[in-house]
Point group: C2
Chain length 379, copies 2
C-alpha cells in the first residue's frame, strides 16, 4: 500500500486531531462529516459531507478508502456488516465495535471472558428491575443500551417506577451503583495482526457525568494499575479490537471494575499528544493501517489534561481565542487545543494540557486555563 | 481579533507543519501555493493557487488575511513594501526580511550592529575579488546576494577568474572561508511588541551544502552557546524581526561567526516539534499574531533530527511509505514526518526525530531511519 487513504466516519474533534497526525505520516485522511461546520471538516483537505446512517453514503465513502475507521460509535452495526460483506476493511470490525455500541452486548461479553464488572442485569420490565434492585440494593444505575454519551442515557433510580418511560422503549442495562474511590481509564492500541500496546492508567475526574480532567498517570497502587492494564489488554485480545480501545473503569478497594468501552481515540487520551511518545491519534492510524505501534512511554513524569467546556454565557465567551492572551502569558508551558466548535453551554469545545513533575501544580494550571477559557474567571 | 486568518506565502513543508500547529490553536491558515501538488497544498483546507511574484495575486491573497507571513524568502522586497503601504500586516516586515533575502544587505547590517561575521566584501569586478582574496587568503567563498539555498548560489574559488561568469550578472558577496569546528544554529522567536524567546543552540551537520542532521543541544562550551544566543537575540531586536528567526553560525576557537539568516520556521528547528515544549511552528504563529510566546525548554535532555533526502533511485524508493514497516518496528520511539513531496534525488522529502538521553544513540537511530527511508540500506 502506498500513501494509504484512511476514511474516518465522523467529523468531530477526534477526527480533527487525527488529521494532525495523518499530516506527519502523509496518510491521507478522508472525513465523512455531517456538515461543513463540524470540527474536522473545517480543517481537513479531504471532506465528504454525508449521513453516516445511510448505507449508500457509507458505501460511496468507503469506495475510495483503503481502510474505514470511526470518530464515534453511531454507525448502525448492520451497515458495518454490509460494508464488510462488500470487502471493505472496517477497523475496528463490526464484531468488535458492537461492544462499544451496545452496553448489553458489552456486559454479556466481558462477563463471559471473566473481566470484572459491576453487578448487572438485562431488564425488560419494571418487575425485573425491581427484583434486581431488591437483590443488590437501591439506588440502581439504569442505562439505555445504545446512544448514550457524556452522562446521557444514564439514570440513577431509587425505584423501578423511575425507569418506566425508558422501559417502554426497550430493554435496559441495570447495574449496581459502584462505591468507587476514583474513575480510571486505560487505553490499548491493537493491530489486525495482534500487536498490542497499553498506555499508563489514568484517572478521569468527572463532574455531572462529563470528564473534566485527566491525570496521567493515575495515583493508584501498582497492583491495581497492573490489573487495569491486564484487563484492558485481555478485552482488546478477546474482542479483537483494531485501533485505539479505551476502557473506563472504577477503582474500588476490592479492585478495578470495567464501566464502559470506546473503540476510537478517546477524551481520556488527549494528554498523549504532548505527554506520550506516540499520541493516541498517530497510534490509531498506525493500528488501523497495521503498521508497527509506537512507544507509549510518557514524555514527562506527569501530564494533566482539562476539558474546556462551553461557557454558560456564549454571548460573552463564545470565542475561546479571546482568552489566549491571558492564558498563554500566564502559563508559557500551556498547550491549547481549540476544536473550532460553536460554543454551547457545557459542550466540549477544546482542551488544555500541561506536562511536568508535580501533579498538583499541573492540575492547578490546567484547571485555571480551562476555567479562564470558559469564562469562569475574569481576567 | 477572533479566529484570525494567517496567510502563509509558500506551500512547502514549512507551511505544511505550520498547518498542524494552526489546527491546535484554531487559527485559520490560508496557504498561497504555486501548485496543488505542493506539500502544504495537499493537506490544508484553505489553499489559494497563485504566483508569489505577482503583486496582484499577493494583494488578493492578503485581502482575506489578518496577517501575512512566509514559508520562503522569494517574494520580491518591493512587493512586500507595496503590501505594507496597502496596510497589510506583513510579518516579518520588508525592512527586516530583506536581510534574509539579500546577503549583502545582511552583512552590511550585521557588521553595523557589531555582530561577529566572517571577513567579507562587496565585489563588483574580478579586480576587487582578487584584491579581497589576496588580502584575506585564498580560497574565498563567493555568494550571489539573492536566491541561494541548500548550497546553491555559493561557490568556493581559488582565483578571481573562477567567479567571472557570476560577476557578469552583478555584485557578489565575497567572504573568508572560515575554519570552523562545527556549524551551529540558533532560533529566536520575536513578537511585534518585542517579546523574544531564544531556543537552545543546536549543531547542524551539513554534507555537500545540505543540512543532514541537527543535534539539540549543541555540545559546545557554555560561553560559546551564550554568545551565540546573545548574538541571535541582538539580531532579532535590531532588525525587529517578527516570527521565527534562524541564525546559522560557525563555531570557531575564537568564538561564533554568523553565516546566514532565515526569518521563518527553519530546518534547524524541526526537532522542536517533539523536542521542545513549544514547536517552532506554533511559536511562529504565536509571534506573528502577537500572542505571548511559549516555553522553549527541551522536553528531553537531547533530540536529534535527520533529514530524509530523495533517493538516487526514485523508481525503487519513490514512496517513503514503503519504509515505514521496517523503520517503525525497528524503532518504536521514532517520529516520521513525510512531506508528501515527489521524490527527486537529493530533495528534502521528510525528516525523522528522536528524543532521549544519549546523543550518540539518538544520532545513530535518526541516521539509520533517514538512510533506510532513502533506500540507502536494504531491509
Amino acid at each position: 500500500m502506498s500513501r494509504p487513504v484512511v476514511g474516518m466516519v465522523g467529523g468531530g474533534q477526534l477526527a480533527r486531531m487525527t488529521a494532525q497526525a495523518a499530516i506527519a505520516l502523509d496518510v491521507r485522511l478522508r472525513v465523512l462529516a455531517a456538515s461543513p461546520e463540524e470540527s474536522a471538516a473545517q480543517i481537513a483537505a479531504d471532506v465528504v459531507i454525508g449521513d453516516h446512517d445511510d448505507l449508500d453514503t457509507l458505501r460511496a465513502f468507503a469506495a475510495g478508502c483503503d481502510v474505514i475507521t470511526f470518530d464515534h460509535e453511531h454507525v448502525p452495526t448492520d451497515h458495518l456488516r454490509a460494508l464488510e460483506a462488500d470487502g471493505v476493511a472496517v477497523r475496528p470490525g463490526a464484531d468488535a465495535l458492537v461492544h462499544a455500541q451496545d452496553k448489553l452486548a458489552m456486559r454479556e461479553r466481558l462477563t463471559g471472558i471473566g473481566v470484572p464488572c459491576p453487578d448487572w442485569a438485562l431488564v425488560t420490565t419494571a418487575g425485573e428491575l425491581a427484583e434486581f434492585g431488591d437483590r443488590i440494593g437501591w439506588p440502581v444505575v439504569v442505562k439505555t443500551p445504545r446512544g448514550g454519551y457524556d452522562g446521557r442515557g444514564v439514570r440513577v433510580v431509587a425505584t423501578a417506577a423511575e425507569a418506566a418511560d425508558w422501559l417502554e422503549r426497550g430493554p435496559l442495562l441495570a447495574e449496581a451503583r459502584v462505591d468507587y474511590t476514583r474513575e480510571l481509564a486505560v487505553q490499548v492500541a491493537r493491530s489486525p495482526h495482534g500487536q498490542a500496546a497499553v498506555y499508563p492508567v489514568v484517572e478521569t475526574v468527572q463532574r455531572n457525568g462529563i470528564c473534566r480532567e485527566v491525570l496521567a498517570p493515575a495515583a493508584i497502587d501498582e497492583d491495581h494499575a497492573l490489573a487495569a492494564q491486564r484487563a484492558a489488554l485481555a478485552i482488546a485480545a478477546e474482542l479483537k479490537t483494531v485501533g485505539m480501545l479505551a476502557v473506563e473503569m472504577f477503582d474500588t478497594p476490592a479492585g478495578v471494575l470495567v464501566n464502559e468501552l470506546a473503540m476510537r481515540p478517546h477524551n481520556s487520551g488527549h494528554w498523549t499528544i504532548e505527554g506520550a511518545t506516540t499520541s493516541q491519534f498517530e497510534q490509531h492510524l498506525r493500528a488501523v493501517l497495521d503498521l508497527p505501534l509506537g512507544e507509549v512511554a510518557m514524555t514527562a513524569p506527569a501530564a494533566v489534561m482539562a476539558n474546556v467546556l462551553g461557557s454558560d454565557d456564549p454571548e460573552r465567551f463564545g470565542d475561546l481565542y479571546g482568552g489566549y492572551l491571558h492564558c498563554l502569558a500566564h502559563d508559557p508551558g500551556l498547550h491549547i487545543h481549540n476544536y473550532g466548535k460553536t460554543v454551547v453551554p457545557g459542550r466540549k469545545v477544546g482542551h488544555v494540557t500541561v506536562t511536568g513533575a508535580d501533579p498538583d501544580d499541573l492540575l492547578e494550571r490546567a484547571r485555571h486555563a480551562a476555567a479562564f477559557l470558559r469564562g469562569e474567571i475574569d481576567g
